[in-house]
């Protein structure tokens, strides 16, 4: 079975999230416009976009905190709507950008409150397991107000794990954290992935999405693109080779123009050339032969890599251009 966003979902394995034309308007302002996508069970899905793109609004809609203006969605197998609100919230967990802990209460007391709200049987062992999962078992009695921002974020994650959720929504989980704390949160997300938890991660940190996510959606009020990071790169950028020679080529046009798989080329410095090619694996040996034939000394021939940041900037720039027209 194929779904709206192109994710292959096998029969009998319904997706964790299925969103069809979800729209949210606040008065005249459209925060989310016709969002359609699908997230498979066990997937770590990155939802990228600039500030004010509508990422948090999307999470709030899927978390049943706010009602969509139009469109539909299925969250953890249940149709999004007021009738299923309690049951959906029982099956998911949401960690907002700020963990929102009761700072006068201890870590354990915070988790006890939420264990009660989820109606968990045997809350003590669930709390213990959640704290162990985030390496906080020894800090259960600490007052939350005394914890560092990174530790508070860990408690927020422990809280998100209490109910063994089918889908975890993490809204900018590393926002404002230092590199060490960020690394710890990334490791925890990796752990969740190994356990098969579906994660919907909103972020504007591109390296975070690239490192953690199976697929990413680039979103700015509307869905700009969705796919694996390498797919997005291939889709958006032509295949390119970066050629470096020891000395400047005397007649580069003659060398590169003679190779059938080279579509175009440009000089990228004194002795570097960027070649747009039909296929890198075919083109690389052909270009090497042409250079050797021309008497050039080759330093390197490599596939030009584009980061997710390039993809993101390309799509966001397109948005800016459209908005300026």
């Amino acid at each position: 079975m194929s779904t709206a966003a192109g994710v292959e979902v096998s029969a009998g394995n319904s997706p964790a999230l299925e969103i069809e034309n979800l729209t949210k308007r606040f008065g005249d302002r459209t925060a989310v416009d016709n969002l359609s996508l699908c997230v498979a069970k066990g997937e770590v899905f990155g939802f990228l976009g600039p500030n004010g793109a509508g990422k948090t609004t999307t999470v709030r809609m899927l978390g049943t905190l706010i009602a969509p203006s139009s469109g539909s969605a299925t969250v953890a197998g249940l149709a999004l709507g007021p009738a299923n609100g309690v049951e959906i919230r029982q099956r998911i967990s949401v960690m907002p950008e700020s963990p929102g802990l009761y700072l006068r209460l201890s870590v354990a007391e915070n988790l006890e409150c939420f264990a009660g709200l989820y109606g968990l049987a045997d809350p003590s062992s669930r709390i213990q397991r959640a704290l162990e999962a985030v390496n906080m078992a020894g800090r259960a009695k600490d007052t939350c107000g005394t914890l560092s921002k990174g530790l508070r974020q860990r408690v927020g994650l422990a809280r998100a794990l209490l109910n063994d959720p089918e889908v975890v929504f993490l809204d900018e989980p590393t926002s404002g954290l230092d590199p060490v704390a960020t690394h710890e949160v990334h490791e925890l997300i990796d752990e969740l992935r190994k356990r098969g938890v579906t994660i919907f991660l909103t972020t504007h940190r591109l390296e975070e999405a690239e490192r953690l996510c199976d697929r990413v959606a680039i979103f700015s009020t509307t869905l700009r693109s969705v796919g694996r990071p390498d797919e997005l790169r291939d889709r958006l950028f032509k295949k390119q080779l970066l050629v470096e020679t020891v000395a400047r080529l005397a007649a580069p046009e003659a060398v590169f123009g003679s190779v059938a798989s080279v579509e175009s080329w440009s000089a990228e410095g004194s002795s570097s050339y960027l070649l747009s090619v039909t296929d890198t694996k075919t083109a690389a040996p052909e270009v090497a032969r042409a250079l050797v034939g021309a008497g050039a000394d080759i330093l390197s021939i490599a596939e030009a890599r584009h980061s997710l940041e390039d993809v993101y900037m390309e799509l966001v720039d397109q948005d800016v251009e459209v908005s300026h027209r």
Binding site: F26, L65, R89, Q90, V94, M95, R104
Partner: protein, 244 residues
């Protein structure tokens, strides 16, 4: 109360509130200061009543004392219930709570109970203390003016109803307010009208009788029930999380 209301979730909300009160000196202070003032005032008033006072003056003095006592359930919960929603919103704790299966009703009942239980405990403890002092130290004429069934019934019945009104007003203001201090000021002022009806009874404007006490209690109960519906309708998750 809806049949599918989870008492476990209500308890979780109320228990969290109790824990928070214990660690918050401001809450303990605001809960303690008004009852101390009112009980002191009430005791001084009642013990100062001269035995030779004419019966109408005696009734007025006793009525005034009872009014002080009923200010306790009006004022004690106003501050804490006014904090209940806007305080969580300011701390950033409201959104995580609302993403759990807790319903609006469960959340509000938990918050209301957390304000009602200490209020009733404090109020009835103060009534007991004042009545014991009257029995032990006041003139027998004053004592007999105080220990009258309609008056004691009014105290017993009106206490939870006045507290209920004060809590409902506090939560309603809190659900619509953007600032804790403003919410607490408005809620405290808005809690006083409920005492008005008992004031009329205390001062004899409305005749003191068992039937009148029961009738007024029924009226307050009706107002509280209607107030509950209004508060439930005012609790709008979307508005609260988007701050629109």
């Amino acid at each position: 109360m809806k049949p599918n209301m989870s008492m476990a979730r209500v308890r979780a909300i109320a228990r969290k509130e109790f824990r928070d009160y214990r660690r918050n000196r401001f809450v303990v202070f605001t809960m303690a200061v008004a009852p101390v003032v009112f009980v002191t005032w009430a005791l001084i008033s009642i013990l100062a009543i001269a035995a030779a006072e004419p019966s109408s003056a005696l009734d007025t003095s006793v009525g005034l004392t009872m009014l002080f006592l009923l200010l306790v359930p009006a004022t004690v919960p106003a501050t804490i219930s006014a904090y209940s929603v806007v305080g969580e919103r300011e701390q950033g704790t409201l959104e995580p709570v609302l993403t759990t299966p807790v319903t609006n009703g469960e959340f509000l009942v938990g918050k209301a109970l957390a304000a009602l239980v200490p209020t009733l405990a404090i109020s009835y403890a103060i009534f007991g203390l004042v009545l014991a002092c009257v029995e032990l130290f006041a003139h027998p004429a004053v004592s007999s003016a105080v220990f009258r069934a309609p008056l004691l019934l009014a105290l017993a019945l009106f206490t939870p109803l006045i507290a209920g009104w004060s809590i409902l007003v506090g939560i309603a203001v809190s659900a619509r307010s953007r600032d804790v201090r403003v919410a607490q000021q408005i809620a405290t002022l808005a809690s006083f009208p409920a005492v008005g009806v008992t004031a009329l009874m205390s001062f004899g404007v409305i005749p003191q009788s068992l039937a009148v006490a029961l009738g007024l209690a029924a009226g307050l109960l009706l107002i509280d029930s209607l107030g509950w519906r209004v508060v439930s309708a005012m609790f709008d998750r979307e508005r609260l999380v988007t701050r629109s």
